[in-house]
Amino acid sequence: MAEVRLLELDGVEARYGPVKALHGVSLSVGEGEVAAVLGANGAGKTTTLRAISGTVRRGGRIVFAGKSISRRSPEAIARLGIAHVPEGRGTLSELSVRENLRLGAYVRRDRKGIRDDERRVLVHFPWLEARRDQRAGTLSGGEQQMLALARALMLRPRLVLLDEPSLGLAPIVVAEIFRIVSELNEREGLTVLVVEQNANLALEASSRAYVLEAGRVALEGTSAELRRNESVRRTYLGY
């Protein structure tokens, strides 16, 4: 596979005050693929995404679309086209659904493109139309997760960072969210780096995966390989 590498992390470290959470993570995401990061609680999955989007102090080399972003601010990184859907969904709960979507496109200047994308997003999330004037904080957890994804799409992102989309949601809702992610990837070539505790789902939806343990990449490979891997099966898949 000689695809273009959109995102590359090389020896990335990150810390929260005195506590080091990443001890040199190296991974890459190719243009148009869904990559997954698996691992137990505290392995550094969320921190890896936060290092990319610049919301944690980090070191090492992070290159996105040929540009080093390891010293850039979250605002600047969003402007490069990285949409981070954080843990807890990052819903602007006081604002309406429509306002959330509008702010997803905040850094864009192409009015017509934004209107087109509003329609495009509604194809994947038709129910948003009827709820557009409702305050986002009053949506259910699953709806908020989908709104967060829809809002990320409004950036017309080159890369979506999706943090634990299954957190606290019913299995049927989680399945729906992963179905939409796969659909977006297949139909629109959306590139996604998803962090997920539910390894089954993550390996199903992705083509490449990394297993984090204690702030390091312990295993990597295609998702098909990892599904067959004995230790991954025992530790993360449960069979």
């Binding site: 979250p74 006081e94 986002a136």
Partner: protein, 300 residues
Amino acid sequence: MLLAFDWTQLAQQTVIGLSSGGLWALLALALVLIYRSTGVVNFAQGELAMFSTFIAWSLVHHGFSYWEAFFLTLAISFAGGVALERIVIRPVERAPVLTVVIVTLGLFFLVDGAARWFWSSETRTLPNAFSTRPITVAGVAFSIQDLGNIAISLGVVALLWLFFQFTKLGLALRAAAANPDESRLLGIRVSWMLALGWGLAAAMGAISGMLTAPALASFDQNLMQPVLLYAFAGAVLGGIESPFGAVLGALLLGVFVNLIGTYVDWIGTDLRLPVALAVILGVLLVRPAGLFGRRSARRV
């Protein structure tokens, strides 16, 4: 009994109450704006407004007309508010609330001291913004000044509402105030949004000050201290989280304080401020969120 009641006086006093309430509302709105983005009451807001009013006074004394000075001062105050946030508040942006409160208290004395240093402490006057002629509506005489104050304060409130509701920048300001971390991920320059909020608050305070001063026989550096207290009382009454509440609270308070001063002899003009303080205390005891304050979003 009912026939003997002076309805003309009631109408006049209500309008006078709305006039001062409107000016308190502008400062109350400034307080709410800062409170929503930083979580603290800016104790220096009144002194900043006083400083702006003195700038306007200086401009008038250098030959500008009242309205020229008014709009120049607005621009200067906005820029000053932005600069102040950049220089004084930015370093403590992520500090605990108490630190920020102390900083705004420090700012109170700093601005107050600066105004006393730049301008001597003698009393001074600003020309009237409006004609002092009365105007008769339905047989009742009102002062044009009061009606003008009401029109300007409500107009500013409406403009601000349109700005926050219907412009992208206004939307980003609201988002940055409520969810700074999430807003950053959307590419919103949160730190600059806070500075913009300080600029807007300073400009609103300036309007309040520049309309408060002409109504007085004379003013000095203590000009805005009672106004700050009334504004704070109004904001607490309406709910300090709610811009609408703060405006309505200040207007209600203006009418209430003026009517009670008119009709209850022993209160008169001397005891109006304690009445406002009693309102703060009463609201905090009975309904801490204020009349229109609401708790954060609930799931349905």
